[in-house]
Symmetry: C2
Subunit: 175 residues, 2 copies
């Protein structure tokens, strides 16, 4: 008899560059072994380069985007629409997680949604995770209770960032 599959919860948090790219890279690695990944991007509407590239791997990797981070840059509080989109994204992630269609579900930037009080019920999703699904959460400001539930947590610490020298976000690198 085959041993039942047991998968885990991974979190990539911290203020350094590399959280979303690490999650994308993990999906790419997994696809090479035939594993299927569903990626939900929270608070992102920009057409990041990876969306284009991942089209070439759409047999294994599906991406959906919900919301935007305009309210962050405009230093406003998020509105009802921001909360509704975050809620929709979480719903899609949960459906994917329970669908038996995916080996990995990535909730990109979900930690940040909690910081901005867009969502308050991510924790129950972690409890509902089926054994055979790997959950990967990314974003700054990961709440301590999620870290306690997770099996692997990496903190991306900014040691140096070119933003400090005035370099702007660049196509192909930050977007």
């Amino acid at each position: 008899m085959n041993k039942p599959i047991r998968r885990y919860i991974q979190i990539y948090t911290g203020n350094g560059k590399g959280k979303t790219t690490a999650a994308i890279g993990q999906a790419i690695r997994a696809a090479g072994h035939g594993l299927r990944t569903f990626i939900v991007m929270f608070m992102k509407e920009h057409r990041y380069g990876e969306l284009q590239s991942l089209q070439h791997l759409r047999e294994w990797i599906t991406v959906e985007q919900y919301g935007n981070d305009n309210f962050v840059f405009s230093k406003q509080s998020p509105g009802d629409q921001d909360r509704a989109l975050a809620r929709q994204a979480l719903k899609r992630a949960r459906e994917a997680m329970l669908s038996k269609q995916y080996d990995i579900v990535i909730l990109d930037e979900v930690c940040v949604t909690t910081y901005f009080k867009l969502l308050d019920d991510v924790l129950p999703l972690l409890d509902e995770k089926p054994d055979e699904v790997e959950l990967i959460l990314t974003g700054r400001y990961c709440p301590q209770e999620w870290i306690e539930k997770a099996d692997l947590v990496t903190e991306m610490q900014e040691i140096k960032h070119y933003y400090q020298k005035g370099v702007q976000a660049r196509k192909g690198f930050e977007s």
Copy 2:
């Protein structure tokens, strides 16, 4: 007149998971904007899942592997062949960097080669970097002098790792 392109040196180091995957994810993001990446993997001979997946993006991303890390696991000192392969990998990275064919050159696990004294001359490569090429170096034990030369450095800190609970490396996740 177009502003000349100015690209940078990025380093992903530390003991946490996510260094190689972040570099791969960066190549994926860049490919979506038509940028070309050359990846040299040091001390790796295993057929990591990403090698298979990246075939689908071979128009933008080229990968070459040199060496293996058997000597690490067997707790032996690296031999002449290990040093020769690391040297060859560095030579290929340098050729790619100077070829004007690539926007990004990734030296995956190169930091580790220095720790094991496989190479002692990576620093001059950083000085030779043409403005229009982004160099990305990954691996634990990054020497301080490289960090000083870099423009962006993220330390992946292990907060929690499932290895600590006895989970073995898994296909699609670690390999």
